[in-house]
Amino acid sequence: MEIFSLQEYYTFTKGIVYLLMGGALIGVTLFWQFLMGGNNNDD
C-alpha cells in the first residue's frame, strides 16, 4: 500500500495507535498488579 495523502497516512497511523492504546490500557492494569504485588507490600 502506498500512501499519497495525509488523510490516508493518518488513517493508517491512527489505526496502529488505537491498537497500541488498547494494549497500553490492558498492559498498565497487569503491570499495576505486578508492581503492587510481591512481598514488599507494606507501603
Binding site: M1, Y9, Y10, A24, V28, W32
Partner: protein, 351 residues
C-alpha cells in the same frame, strides 16, 4: 564484526517496523500522481444549466418540476441537495450577471473523508472522492465537516437515507468517458484533465488576459487543495465562494486533538494510579499515627495510675505501717478481683 551484525539486525528491525511502502518521516503528501480534476472558468459560463441537466441524466436523478431551459430558476440562490448534485447560481456584478457552478470540489484531503467514522468516503487515484452507501450510518458529520457545504442528505427516506454528492462521474470515468457536466458544456467553461496540467492552463489564461481574470486560482491551495479548480473575473466572494477558508486541510485541523488522545490513554492511568497510591499511603500513615497515639495514651494512663498507687502507698507508710499494709492489700485484692473478671469479659467481647 559482532557490532556490524548487531547494527544490521537493528536496521532490519527498523525497516520491518516501518512497514514497507509507508512514508514514515516526511509528512508532505501531494496526492496521487497524475490525478485528474476539472477547471471551471466563470468568465466563460453563460448560465445555460446544460451541466445541471446532464448531471441529472447521467446520475439517474428524479426529473425536477421546472424544466432545465427555465432560467428563472437562477433568480433564487440554491445549493446542492439530495436530488441535485450540481447547481449553477447567478450573481450580480458591475459587468452584468455572472454564473458559477457548484458541486463537490473533490478535495485532495477531503474533510468528509477525515470526518467519517466508517471511512465511507474515499479519494480515488483518478481524483474523484466517492461515497460508499453500504457502510454509512447516517450521522451526517461529513456534512458538518465539509467546508464547501456540499454533501446533501435524503431526509425524507425513513430508513435508508444516503448522503448525496457529485462523484466526478467516477463510473463514467471508469468507462473512459468525460464527466456528464463537462461533456455537455457548450462554452468549454468546464475542462477535464490532469490536475497539474489544469493548473498550468489556468496560469496561462491569467497571464495572457490579466484584465479578464483575478490573479487567483481557487482550489489550488484552499483547504489543502481541491481537484475542482476555479477561475473568475471578480473576487471569488462576489460569486459566492468563501475566501476565508485558509489553506489548512481537514486532517491538519484535527491532528492536534487526535494526537492528544493516545497521550491521555497512555498517561492518565499512570497519573491516577500515582494519586491513588499517594492518597492510600496517606491514609495508612494517618491510621498508623492514630494507632500510635492511642497506644501512647494508654501507656501514659497506666503509668500514671501506677505512680499514684505507689505514692499513696509510701504516704501511708508513715503511720501504722503494718496494719495499713494489710488493709491496703485486702482492699487492692478486693478491688482487683472483679476488675480482672471484667477485663476478661471485655477481651472476649472484642475478639
Amino acid at each position: 564484526m559482532l557490532r556490524r551484525t548487531f547494527l544490521g539486525m537493528l536496521g532490519t528491525a527498523c525497516v520491518g517496523a516501518s512497514i514497507p511502502g509507508v512514508a514514515s518521516a516526511s509528512k508532505e503528501f501531494t496526492g496521487h500522481p497524475g490525478s485528474n480534476g476539472v477547471l471551471f472558468d466563470a468568465t466563460r459560463c453563460i448560465g445555460c444549466r446544460k451541466c445541471e441537466e446532464a448531471c441529472n441524466k447521467v446520475n439517474d436523478l428524479p426529473v425536477p418540476d421546472k424544466k432545465y431551459d427555465d432560467l428563472t430558476v437562477l433568480d433564487t440562490k440554491r445549493r446542492t441537495d439530495a436530488k441535485t448534485l450540481t447547481v449553477v447560481n447567478k450573481y450580480k456584478a458591475d459587468k452584468g450577471p455572472l454564473f458559477r457552478k457548484s458541486q463537490c470540489n473533490h478535495c485532495l484531503e477531503p474533510a468528509c473523508a477525515s470526518a467519517c467514522f466508517v471511512k465511507a468516503f474515499k479519494k480515488l487515484p483518478n481524483g474523484a472522492v466517492v461515497y460508499d452507501e453500504s457502510v454509512c450510518v447516517g450521522c451526517r458529520y461529513c456534512m458538518v465537516a465539509c467546508p464547501f457545504s456540499i454533501p446533501a442528505y435524503e431526509y425524507d427516506e425513513p430508513l435508508t437515507p444516503r448522503v448525496m454528492k457529485c462523484t466526478m462521474c467516477a463510473p463514467r470515468l471508469a468507462e473512459g468517458k468525460l464527466p456528464g457536466c463537462v461533456e455537455s458544456c457548450p462554452k468549454e467553461a468546464l475542462v477535464y484533465g490532469e490536475r497539474d496540467e489544469l493548473i498550468k492552463i489556468a496560469r496561462k489564461r491569467i497571464e495572457r488576459n490579466p484584465d479578464r481574470y483575478v490573479d487567483h486560482l481557487y482550489g489550488e491551495k484552499e483547504m489543502g487543495g481541491t481537484s475542482w479548480l476555479y477561475l473568475s473575473g471578480v473576487p471569488f466572494t462576489e460569486i459566492g465562494m468563501r475566501e476565508d477558508l485558509g489553506t489548512k486541510s481537514a486532517p491538519e485541523l484535527t491532528a492536534g486533538a487526535l494526537a492528544s488522545v493516545p497521550m491521555v490513554a497512555g498517561l492518565w492511568p499512570v497519573l491516577l494510579g500515582g494519586i491513588y497510591a499517594i492518597s492510600k499511603r496517606k491514609d495508612k500513615v494517618a491510621n498508623e499515627e492514630k494507632k500510635e497515639a492511642v497506644a501512647n495514651a494508654i501507656a501514659k494512663a497506666s503509668e500514671q495510675a501506677e505512680k499514684t498507687l505507689s505514692e499513696a502507698l509510701s504516704k501511708a507508710d508513715v503511720a501504722n505501717k503494718r496494719q495499713i499494709e494489710v488493709e491496703v492489700k485486702k482492699a487492692v485484692e478486693d478491688a482487683l478481683t472483679p476488675k480482672e473478671e471484667e477485663s476478661d469479659e471485655n477481651s472476649e467481647g472484642e475478639s
